[in-house]
Amino acid sequence: MEEKEKQIICRLASGVKNMDEKMTVEAANEALVNHIDPTQAINNGLLAGMNQAGLLYETEEYFVPELLLCSDALYAGLDVLTPHIKSVASKARTRMVIGVVQGDTHDIGKNLVKLMFETSGFDVLDLGRDVPLNAFVDKVKEVQAQLLCMSTLMSTTMDGMARVIEKLEQEGIRNTVRVMVGGGPLNQSFAHKIGADGYAKDAIEAVRTARQLLTSGTEDILP
């Protein structure tokens, strides 16, 4: 039985990693038939597979189309498994706000980052693209977000990010939220210069950096 369980979990992971929706759904159904704990099937199977896909993306074996197909397989598996999770008081999810700053409509990168955060269990509020600077601040306030992610692909709209951080300071909520920035023309030193807490070069690194930021300074994030 244990061997079989391992095998099913393994197929869940490789179904996601190999962009194979059909295999993932079949393995998810088998997991249910074999009474595998759905939470375990999700964490050790589906999410582990997505994690492997992320690593392949980082090493440039996968690109955007492949990563999107992996996420489709992941969601197909989740659709099968999540209804069977016994509702237990789960740990509150980290709430985050994300968007592309005003003046820019390029949102492929932002959508990938959003996807990776969602598949990593974050509660993501997406403001979309070409987002007015005040809207970031208002949303962070409204939902008491612990993390704010802003992106731009255009070097011409980078300065808007600095203005959002200034506004957070003016509103007196800067130390309640971790701010991360990303996008083609940005780098770590720019993030540092404008007073952001973190920078990530891609969607996979973004989740890693966010986790580090959120665990390193939890004392002033908790209400």
């Binding site: 690109f63 955007v64 189309p65 949102d107 070097s155 011409t156």
Partner: protein
């Protein structure tokens, strides 16, 4: 050597007395706010007006020292004419797609076919006609949005990228349709008198599509356009954004000699994989162009040239807030002697 010949020769990899400085138009628009003020331009109205587009291209060329004339000043002309809702922007921002006309690839047949009656197709080709008839000693560049970028202006990019894996045959039908429409518009602009054809395909970026996606969905369609229009113009140029490293090995298969690159792509490794007859156009950082001093821009321009760029150009679309002094610094840098790179 006249600027016109210099640009045409350099784009074809032929010897020139010095590198030319170009700003093709379209995605790499020539226009800035400061130039508009000096020329009393009326943005966004001018995007519909052939005479104004032509006057402004010539005016900004004179103000900056750019050695070509290029229209339009945005990359939304084709998408708008095919049914996308376009926000025409303000005095300080270029037009942008505000809403995609289709939500599924299978709906591509509902898109309008390009004709000179549609949107700004007519005014743009008229602007080329007017400019070309002025017989200025600078080549007129026709700017075409690349097939992948047009696709991502008509449908949410994530839907397109996913479909490339799930329904490749359908995506090919869609791309073929776009390609035919782009060939129509390209031919119209070249027949109106443009000397050079540029295809700008930022969404075909190597680090988005990867080598397989680029080879399947970008390369054959860009080539199809270049092949169909090669009898109507001498030089062609292809601009692709982002870091091209993942698709380096495919670039020699592009049916063009001039490849325009972003500042994210390194010049030396690219040079080593291009065909002997291919040249690099680029790649001065647009952030530096907006924020830097003329001295810094000059240094960056010289660095690009020393590393092997043969035609100096901004790396990507410039900010409308780029100071004229920085564009002038680029124009001056191509006239300076090149000392060897130190370090």
């Amino acid at each position: 050597m006249k600027s016109g010949n210099r640009v045409l020769n350099a784009l074809q990899g032929r010897p020139v007395d010095r590198p030319p400085f170009i700003c093709a138009g379209g995605m790499t628009s020539m226009m800035t706010v400061e130039a508009m003020q000096q020329l009393s331009a009326d943005w966004p109205r001018c995007h519909h007006d052939a005479k104004e587009m032509s006057r402004l291209a010539e005016g900004v060329r004179e103000l900056t020292g750019i050695e070509n004339l290029g229209v339009p000043f945005c990359m939304t002309v084709e998408a708008e004419a095919m049914g996308a809702r376009v926000n025409m922007g303000t005095r300080e921002s270029e037009p942008r797609v505000a809403a995609y006309p289709i939500s599924r690839i299978s709906k591509w047949e509902t898109l309008s076919r390009l004709s000179d009656k549609q949107g700004r197709i007519g005014p743009v080709s008229d602007a080329i006609h007017i400019t070309s008839n002025r017989r200025l000693p600078y080549p007129v560049i026709a700017n075409l949005t690349g097939p992948v970028s047009l696709a991502t202006s008509l449908i949410e990019p994530m839907v397109l990228y996913k479909a490339m894996g799930k329904e490749p045959a359908l995506v090919h039908e869609f791309m073929q349709f776009l390609c035919e429409n782009l060939i129509f518009f390209g031919r119209l602009m070249l027949q109106a008198g443009a000397d050079v054809l540029t295809v700008s395909d930022p969404s075909a970026s190597g680090n988005i599509l990867g080598p397989k996606g680029f080879e399947a969905f970008a390369l054959p369609y860009i080539n199809q356009i270049l092949d169909a229009l090669k009898d109507h113009c001498s030089p062609t140029m292809v601009h692709i954004c982002g870091d091209l490293k993942p698709v380096f090995s495919k670039l020699q298969d592009l049916h063009t000699r001039a490849i325009s690159i972003d500042s994210a792509t390194s010049i030396a490794p690219l040079l080593s994989v291009l065909r002997k007859d291919q040249v690099i156009v680029g790649n001065v950082s647009t952030h530096l162009l907006m924020k830097g001093t003329p001295r810094q821009v000059e240094r960056a321009s010289l660095t690009s040239l020393k590393r092997g760029v043969r035609i100096l150009s901004p790396a990507c679309g410039i900010s409308p807030h780029t100071p004229l002094a920085n564009m002038q610094a680029m124009a001056e840098s191509v006239r300076l002697p090149l000392s060897p790179i130190s370090g």
